[in-house]
């Protein structure tokens, strides 16, 4: 079953004085199956962030369509978009985006509070997730009191607690040390095995090598993709490196 589908996405930015038009995405079409773990790679300026913003409904495409679980997100009304996002998507950001005003528990509760859930229900949902992510003991701490890895795990818990259809991760390992990176990737694999669909945008070959499929974007188009098949993480790593080398040297790679 296809959970996410994009059809010929195009995004053109017009500069302030209307003169220059910058094509961030020229033609992006791909689909993600339920339960898949997809990584999107590409260099800076390749259009990754624009793509993610459109998928997250932060931004609208110039043309083309995005379907989430069969629903065209371009047709979601402006005043429903926040609720739509909250109910269907979970976010993990490079900079964690935890609020200093809340302790970890309240940070994780935030989307549920916005949905008007009762404390009892929120707490019942939180406990298994917190135990699984190893943050059960630090829930009453504030973000400025814990490490980067712990912050990111709290952010993952916040993304998962709504049972989203799709978990969107934007460079989730970007601000983490190698040890925390390993922890986080293990967590991603584990939740993916439980059936959580994940779409991750990343620079990191290591992070991408954990995914079941890697999409490469160059100059606003899907340039190539690698399926894991029966490859191990190490083999995936090698394949991704090769592709990146090709991308970087600009070789006329033909599939």
């Amino acid at each position: 079953m296809i959970i996410l589908e994009t059809k010929s996405l195009q995004k053109i930015y017009t500069t302030r004085f209307g003169g220059n038009r910058v094509r961030a995405l020229s033609n992006v079409s791909f689909s993600v199956e339920q339960g898949e773990y997809v990584a999107i790679m590409g260099e800076s300026g390749s259009g990754k962030t624009t793509l993610l913003n459109i998928l997250a409904a932060f931004d609208k495409p110039t043309s083309g369509k995005v379907y989430l679980d069969g629903r065209n997100i371009g047709e979601v009304k402006e005043n429903e978009i926040s609720v739509f996002r909250r109910d269907n998507l979970g976010f993990v950001f490079q900079e964690f985006n935890l609020l200093d005003t809340f302790n970890l528990q309240d940070n994780i509760f935030l989307p549920l509070v916005l949905s008007g859930k009762k404390y009892k229900e929120m707490n019942e949902r939180l406990q298994p997730i917190a135990r699984r992510l190893g943050i059960a003991k630090i829930l009453t701490k504030y973000p400025y009191e814990v490490s980067g890895g712990q912050k990111q795990r709290a952010a993952v818990a916040r993304a998962l607690i709504t049972n989203p259809k799709l978990l969107l991760a934007d460079e989730p390992t970007g601000a983490l040390d190698s040890h925390s990176t390993d922890d986080l990737l293990k967590i991603f694999n584990a939740v993916n095995q439980d059936g959580q669909t994940i779409l991750m945008v990343t620079h990191s070959t290591k992070a991408a090598s954990h995914a079941s499929r890697v999409l490469f974007i160059k100059d606003g188009e899907v340039f190539h993709q690698i399926y894991r098949g029966s490859n191990t993480n190490e083999q995936m790593y090698q394949k991704i490196s090769d592709t990146l080398t090709l991308l970087a040297t600009g070789g006329d790679y033909n599939e």
Binding site: S82, L98, T101, D106, L110, V113
Partner: protein
């Protein structure tokens, strides 16, 4: 790096940080202007000629000290936002190789610019505001005001000294903050924020003690305001300091309690607003206390001034019981009766229609209320000390006739009417005589002399003329030429209008003088015209300061919203990313307003209530005896003020919303 570099660099920094610096400079300017205006008013030469000049003078001096204190706290508070937002910039400079001392130097130059601009601007603003308000209020009152427009160079110097001191303190606190942190902490500075505060019971208890102490002084001090200066000064300072403490402690406590109520806390609106407020509660509490103190000042000013204006008629009625009031101060009864007959003669010549009249004879004796009873003193030695009293002796016949009563007294018995303070004695011992108090009266014969005197007065009704005459003899023996005479009062009303009354008044004065009669002729119509001039000064000062403080309050609320808006911007952006809609942002902002909104106004209301005895004592000295009018008026002022406050807060909440929303994610 030479000085030229820092001079230029600092100027550039101010320009670059315009959106934080401009409101800050405006605030500094306005604070300086406020201090200048109040301080210069207290030195205004026109003040000397006003009724109750020393009281007013004292209040203005006190006011300027409170404003100086307020300026210090408020500018430190405003600066804390500024420094917090600039820490990142300092962190980058520090990493790029600027040493801490270079940063301190840069900051010094920035401060210097801000100081010069805001002080010059503030003084100019002060002078201009002074002039504009003066013209405006003269127009409103429509009469002469004894207070002229006045530029006070010495006040400018005081203002400069005060602000040099305040800026030095601000500078030191900023440098300390920057010095205490390493570059990495500085870089995170604006995000790191303060830690969620703990409840501080000590500060809370101290706050309660301070405020309570201040209240107690206001409630129990009996002395007139200008004699009890140190006490009242203490009371005001205690309440101001206590308010800051109380707000800091109690607002954290309140929010903590709300946070514990899980079913309340975990609601979209409350969840975000409570945590946001708690997060920067220390700053927030100071902001709220600032608003509370200013609100109190506005309320006190406006309510007492407007009561005075509304009570003016009431005052005239007590001081001028009739349209025309004549006080005959001849050597004896016969003299006075001759003058009385002469006035009658003029009345007939003028064919006046007399609608009401009162005639009675009285003897005024001043005394000091000492430990061993009342010690009589000559009337012309009375100076307005709080323990001075006036006794006005009248005969029973006169009282019964004027008041249409049929009271009866034996020899040695008296009736007492207390004008202000209760008469708490069973007997009155004066000279070598002792009188039994038979009854305390609740109605009096109108007498402007009683009403006008600053000392507490008692009307004493004695049994007969002989009794009064013997009192006269006793004091004649004691004081000789300084003794007061037996006087007569004659008051009457006519059917003439105000203008005609003033003409008649001149006629009576001339006649009185031509015949060389001793005494005073007064006219209500003439007095009214004069009173407007005299009390107009009070009204001017009250309205002026009321408007000034209201402006300051608007500015402070506005500043609070802007600075908190920039502070909260990033947080709301994150929340929108996670799935918070604009509507939810708006409603959580409104909740933030509502939770804390009423706190400063409620506390200001309590402050005003506690200050009430002090203020009513002051108004009593200005002959506003109508306390119920004052109470009613204060309540109306409070309600109007609350509505105004509500409007201001909602308008500025919009600004906050705009700022917060600009930082949000792009939404088509």
């Amino acid at each position: 790096m030479n000085n030229r570099f820092f001079i230029k660099f600092a100027a550039g920094n101010i320009k670059k940080n315009g959106n934080s610096y401009i409101p800050y400079i405006l605030i500094c300017m306005f604070t300086a202007a406020m201090f200048y205006i109040v301080k210069s008013l207290s030195l205004n030469p026109g003040l000397e000629t006003m009724i109750g000049a020393d009281t007013l003078n004292y209040i203005l001096h006190l006011g300027s000290i409170v404003i100086a204190l307020f300026a210090l706290v408020f500018l430190l508070y405003a600066n804390s936002f500024l420094i917090k937002r600039r820490k990142k910039e300092f962190g980058v400079l520090n990493i790029l190789g600027m040493e801490k001392r270079h940063l301190a130097k840069t900051l010094a130059w920035e401060m210097f610019y801000v100081f010069i601009i805001s002080l010059l601007g503030g003084i100019v603003l002060g002078v201009v505001l002074d002039k504009v308000m003066f013209l405006l209020i003269v127009k409103i009152i429509g009469g002469e005001i004894l207070l002229g427009f006045f530029i006070a160079p010495e006040t400018m110097i005081t203002t400069i000294i005060l602000f040099v001191a305040i800026f030095m303190l601000i500078y030191l606190s900023s440098v300390y903050q920057i010095h205490m942190e390493n570059p990495v902490e500085l870089l995170q500075g604006s995000n790191l924020g303060e830690k969620t505060p703990k409840i501080n019971w000590l500060i809370g208890i101290l706050g309660i003690l301070f405020v309570g102490g201040g209240y107690l002084i206001s409630l129990i001090t009996e002395k007139p305001i200008f004699k009890a200066a140190p006490y009242f000064f203490c009371a005001v300072i205690l309440v101001v300091v206590g308010t800051y403490m109380l707000f800091t402690a109690s607002s954290i406590l309140l929010l903590r309690i709300l946070q514990e109520q899980k079913s309340y806390y975990y609601k979209t609106k409350h969840f975000i607003s409570i945590s946001n407020m708690l997060y920067r509660m220390k700053q927030n509490a100071v902001g709220l206390a600032n608003i509370c103190i200013l609100s109190t000042m506005v309320l006190v000013m406006i309510s007492s001034t407007s009561s005075l204006v509304l009570g003016m008629d009431d005052i005239i009625e007590t001081q001028y019981p009739n349209d025309f009031d004549l006080y005959f101060d001849g050597l004896d009864w016969k003299h006075n009766e001759k003058a009385y007959d002469y006035i009658h003669q003029i009345q007939q010549e003028q064919k006046l229609n007399i609608t009401a009249e009162t005639y009675y004879t009285y003897l005024l004796v001043s005394a000091i209320n000492g430990k061993s009873g009342f010690l009589p003193v000559p009337a012309d030695t009375v100076t307005g000390e709080s323990n001075e009293v006036n006794f006005i002796f009248v005969t029973l016949d006169d009282y019964n006739q004027t008041m249409h009563t049929d009271k009866f007294l034996n020899v040695g018995e008296i009736l007492v009417y207390p004008s202000r303070k209760d008469f708490a004695y069973k007997t009155l011992n004066i000279f070598d005589k002792s009188y039994m108090v038979k009854e305390i009266l609740n109605k009096t014969i109108g007498n402007g002399i009683i009403a006008e005197s600053e000392a507490d007065s008692y009307l004493i009704v004695v049994s007969d003329r002989e009794e009064m005459y013997s009192l006269y003899e006793s004091q004649k023996k004691e004081f000789g030429d300084a003794a007061s005479n037996i006087c007569s009062f004659y008051g009457f009303d006519t059917d003439k209008n105000g203008g005609e009354q003033e003409e008649l008044y001149n006629l009576f004065i001339d006649a009185f003088a031509r015949q060389e009669y001793q005494g005073i002729v007064e006219s209500k119509a003439d007095a009214k015209a004069n009173q407007i001039g005299a009390y107009g000064g009070f009204f001017f000062i009250g309205a002026f300061l009321g408007i000034l403080f209201t402006m300051a309050m608007v500015l402070i609320i506005y500043y609070k919203q802007i600075s908190e808006g920039y502070d909260d911007r990033g947080r709301f952006a994150i929340m929108q990313k996670i799935g918070m809609s604009r509507k939810e942002v708006k409603s959580s902002i409104n909740a933030q307003v509502r939770t804390i909104f009423f706190l400063p106004v409620i506390v200001a209301g309590i402050h005003v209530a506690a200050a009430f005895p002090m203020i009513s004592k002051m108004l009593l000295k200005l002959n506003l005896r109508n306390t119920s009018l004052f109470i009613k008026n204060t309540i109306i002022c409070y309600l109007v003020f609350t509505i105004l406050y509500f409007i201001i807060y909602h308008l500025t909440a919009k600004t906050y919303y705009k700022i917060v929303n600009k930082g949000g994610i792009y939404m088509p």
